[in-house]
Symmetry: C2
Subunit: 120 residues, 2 copies
């Protein structure tokens, strides 16, 4: 979910079985990039290991190329990193999201922002 | 939810108590415009009378001006229409949404669309 002030954006690109990428999966990819493992990524974003792992599985299934590469390790301790394809996917998603947020701005948005109650 | 091919957009403008406008409320406003009553609007979009009515109440509470005006009538049969403010709110929301959808387009989006599986 991209958030800018009072504006919240949830944008998804649908695949054959539901969203192939959306805010949740993008957040997981970012967290893997930072944490270097699926378990570390889950801890970083407050998501259970199981749910994080399921989102990674879905990502690897829904795209033509692998998105996350896992390295062998003991159970949850194995490392994980984005493939070059996964990095490009994440940065494309963020770029599109950024353009959409920028496009929201305008007189009409300012008018709506000011017309809400309790925002004196 | 604005949908264009595989792209789904949910954009919300937050108020003091949650989204002041978003896809669900915009849909209700459009349905009231078409149906001329809250009950008719609910039928049009497959939403219960109660939920439709609650969204209208929230809209009338969250903005500085009334968004929907109800006309007296027997129970659920009373009519409803957008105020001039409500019409302007809906059209501003749709305009912002349209710009955001248009801004999504680009080489990166095309790349993502083609990189999904099962879309030969």
């Amino acid at each position: 979910m991209a958030i800018s002030g009072p504006l919240k954006l949830n944008f998804q690109l649908m695949g054959a079985d539901g969203p192939a990428i959306g805010p949740g999966k993008a957040m997981v990819l970012e967290a893997i990039e930072q944490a270097g493992s699926i378990s570390g990524a889950g801890r970083l974003i407050g998501m259970s290991y199981r749910r994080t792992w399921l989102l990674v599985e879905a990502l690897n299934k829904d795209w033509r190329e692998r998105v996350v590469e896992t390295r062998p390790g003991r159970g949850k301790e194995g490392g994980a990193q984005l493939t070059p394809f996964g990095s490009a996917l994440l940065s494309d998603y963020r770029a599109i999201e950024g353009r959409m947020m920028a496009a929201a701005d305008g007189e009409d948005l300012q008018r709506l922002i000011e017309a809400r109650k309790g925002e004196d």
